[in-house]
C-alpha cells in the first residue's frame, strides 16, 4: 500500500467518524446537520478511475447510513453525486484542458466555489428528498436543503483550506 492510498483510506475513515460522532449530533438551530463527509468526494483526485470512485462513494454513503441508522438515503445521494462528479467537474472548471488534477491544486476561487455548491446542493436535495420521501413535504425538503447546504459549504470550505495549508507546509 503506497502513501497516497494510505492517506485515502485514513481520510475515508476520519470523514465517517467525524460525520457520525460529531456532525450528526450537531443540530444547529435544532435541525441542521452539516454533511462534512462530502469532503472526501470533493478531495478525491479528479483524473482517477471512475469505476473505483463510484464504488468508493457508495461505500462512503453506506457506512454513514450503517452507523446512523438512516436507511439508504445517504447511500443514494452519495452514490449519485459520485456518478455525476465528472459531469459536474466539466461544468464547474470548463473544457478538458483546464481541469486540474485535484480540487486543492486549483486556485480559481469562483470555479471551486461553484463546484462545491453544485456537489453539496445536489447531494443535499437528493438526501432530503429520500429522507422525507413525500411530495407534501417539498417545502420542508427545500428549506432543509438550503440551510444545511450553506453550513456544509462553509465547513467544507474551511476544511479544504486547512487541508491545503497542511499539504503545503
Amino acid at each position: 500500500m503506497n502513501s497516497s492510498s494510505l492517506q485515502l483510506v485514513s481520510m475515508f475513515v476520519l470523514m465517517v467518524l467525524l460525520q457520525v460522532m460529531l456532525f450528526n449530533n450537531l443540530q444547529l438551530f435544532g435541525f441542521i446537520n452539516p454533511m462534512v463527509y462530502l469532503f472526501f468526494i470533493i478531495m478525491y483526485r479528479f483524473e482517477s478511475d471512475q469505476t473505483l470512485f463510484i464504488l468508493l462513494s457508495f461505500i462512503l454513503g453506506f457506512s454513514i447510513d450503517f452507523l446512523s441508522q438512516s436507511g439508504g438515503a445517504h447511500s443514494i445521494a452519495t452514490l449519485t453525486i459520485g456518478f455525476l462528479r465528472p459531469l459536474l467537474i466539466r461544468n464547474a472548471f470548463g473544457v478538458t484542458a483546464e481541469i486540474p488534477t485535484s480540487f486543492y491544486n486549483d486556485s480559481r476561487t469562483l470555479n471551486k466555489t461553484i463546484f462545491l455548491a453544485l456537489i453539496i446542493s445536489i447531494h443535499h436535495l437528493l438526501y432530503f428528498s429520500f429522507v422525507f420521501f413525500n411530495w407534501n413535504a417539498i417545502y420542508l425538503i427545500l428549506k432543509n436543503t438550503l440551510l444545511a447546504s450553506v453550513f456544509s459549504l462553509i465547513l467544507i470550505a474551511l476544511l479544504s483550506s486547512f487541508y491545503k495549508k497542511l499539504n503545503d507546509s
Binding site: 469505476t51 463510484i54 441508522q69 438515503a73 447511500s75 452514490l79 449519485t80
Partner: protein, 272 residues
C-alpha cells in the same frame, strides 16, 4: 457474446451505478417496512459502542436539565399520589367524582439551618410564582415546614425543625393520631405525644400525616417509631420517632396549597 462483454465494459460505470442504486433502494425499502433489517441491528450494535463514550460525556452535562424535568414529572405524580392516599378519608370517593383541593408546585431550598431551636429556611419561589402564606412544604419522603412570609421571588418557611411547630400525625396501620414535634437536638429525632393508650403500637410502625390540619393532606409518610413508652398516669403514649428524610439535607421540595383553606378557617372561626 464478445460484443455483449464489450458493451458491459464500456458502460460499466452506469451499470455499476444502477446496480448500487438498486441496492440502496433495497435498504431504504427495508428500513420503511415494519421489521427492521438484520443489517441495521448489526449497525446499531457497532454504533452503540461507538456512541457510548460520547453519550456518557454528553449525559453528564445534561444531568441538571434532566433533574428539572424529573422534578416536573414528579410534581404531577405527587399530586396523583396524594389524591389516592386521601381516599380512606372520604370513603364515598370511589363512586363520585371527588374534589382534590390540593395543588402542587416545585421549589428549591436556597438556605437551610438546623442549629437553632427555631429554624427557618428560604425557598426560591415567591408571590410571583403563586406562593402564599401558610402553604405546606413537603418532599417525597416527608414534610419540611409551612410558609411563613412571602416576598416577590422568595419565601421564608418555618422549618419542621422548630419546636413551635406541631403537626398532626397518625399511624399508618391504625387511626390513632397524635402531635409531632421536634426534640431539638438531632435533625431526624422527633417525638409524638397525645396518642391514646388503647391504640396498638409496635416498633417500626410508620407515621403519616393525619389530614386533620388544613396544611397537609392525609398520608404523607414521615418516619417510623423507634421507641415508645406509656405514661400510666396521663393515659397517653410518648413516642420517639425517626424521620425518613433528614430535613437539613434537602434541596428539591414541593409546595402544596390547600385551595379550601379559607373555607375551613371561616368555619373554624364561626365556632364559639
Amino acid at each position: 457474446m464478445k460484443r455483449i462483454l464489450n458493451a458491459l465494459v464500456q458502460f460499466r460505470n452506469p451499470i455499476l451505478y444502477l446496480l448500487l442504486l438498486g441496492l440502496s433502494f433495497f435498504f431504504l425499502d427495508n428500513k420503511s417496512s415494519f421489521h427492521q433489517s438484520q443489517l441495521e441491528k448489526y449497525g446499531l450494535y457497532v454504533s452503540q459502542n461507538l456512541y457510548r463514550v460520547s453519550h456518557q460525556i454528553g449525559n453528564y452535562f445534561q444531568l441538571k436539565k434532566i433533574n428539572e424535568k424529573l422534578l416536573q414529572e414528579n410534581k404531577a405524580l405527587k399530586e396523583l399520589e396524594l389524591k389516592s392516599k386521601g381516599i380512606p378519608l372520604y370513603p364515598s370517593a370511589l363512586k363520585v367524582k371527588r374534589r382534590f383541593p390540593f395543588q402542587v408546585k416545585t421549589a428549591h431550598i436556597i438556605k437551610n439551618s438546623f442549629l437553632n431551636q427555631q429554624n427557618f429556611l428560604i425557598i426560591d419561589k415567591g408571590a410571583e410564582d403563586g406562593i402564599k402564606e401558610e402553604m405546606a412544604v413537603i418532599t417525597d419522603r416527608g414534610i419540611i415546614g409551612i410558609v411563613k412570609s412571602v416576598s416577590n421571588h422568595y419565601a421564608s418557611v418555618i422549618s419542621i425543625l422548630n419546636q413551635d411547630l406541631k403537626i398532626n400525625v397518625r399511624l399508618k396501620n391504625s387511626a390513632a393520631f397524635g402531635t409531632l414535634s421536634w426534640k431539638g437536638k438531632n435533625p431526624i429525632d422527633f417525638q409524638v405525644e397525645d396518642v391514646v393508650m388503647n391504640a396498638q403500637l409496635e416498633k417500626g410502625d410508620t407515621l403519616i400525616t393525619g389530614g386533620m390540619s388544613s396544611y397537609f393532606p392525609l398520608g404523607i409518610p414521615l418516619g417510623k417509631i423507634s421507641e415508645f413508652e406509656h405514661d400510666i398516669q396521663s393515659g397517653y403514649y410518648t413516642i420517639s420517632t425517626e424521620l425518613f428524610e433528614d430535613p437539613s439535607q434537602v434541596y428539591y421540595v414541593y409546595v402544596i396549597e390547600n385551595l379550601d383553606q379559607k373555607e375551613i378557617n371561616e368555619l373554624k372561626n364561626e365556632q364559639p
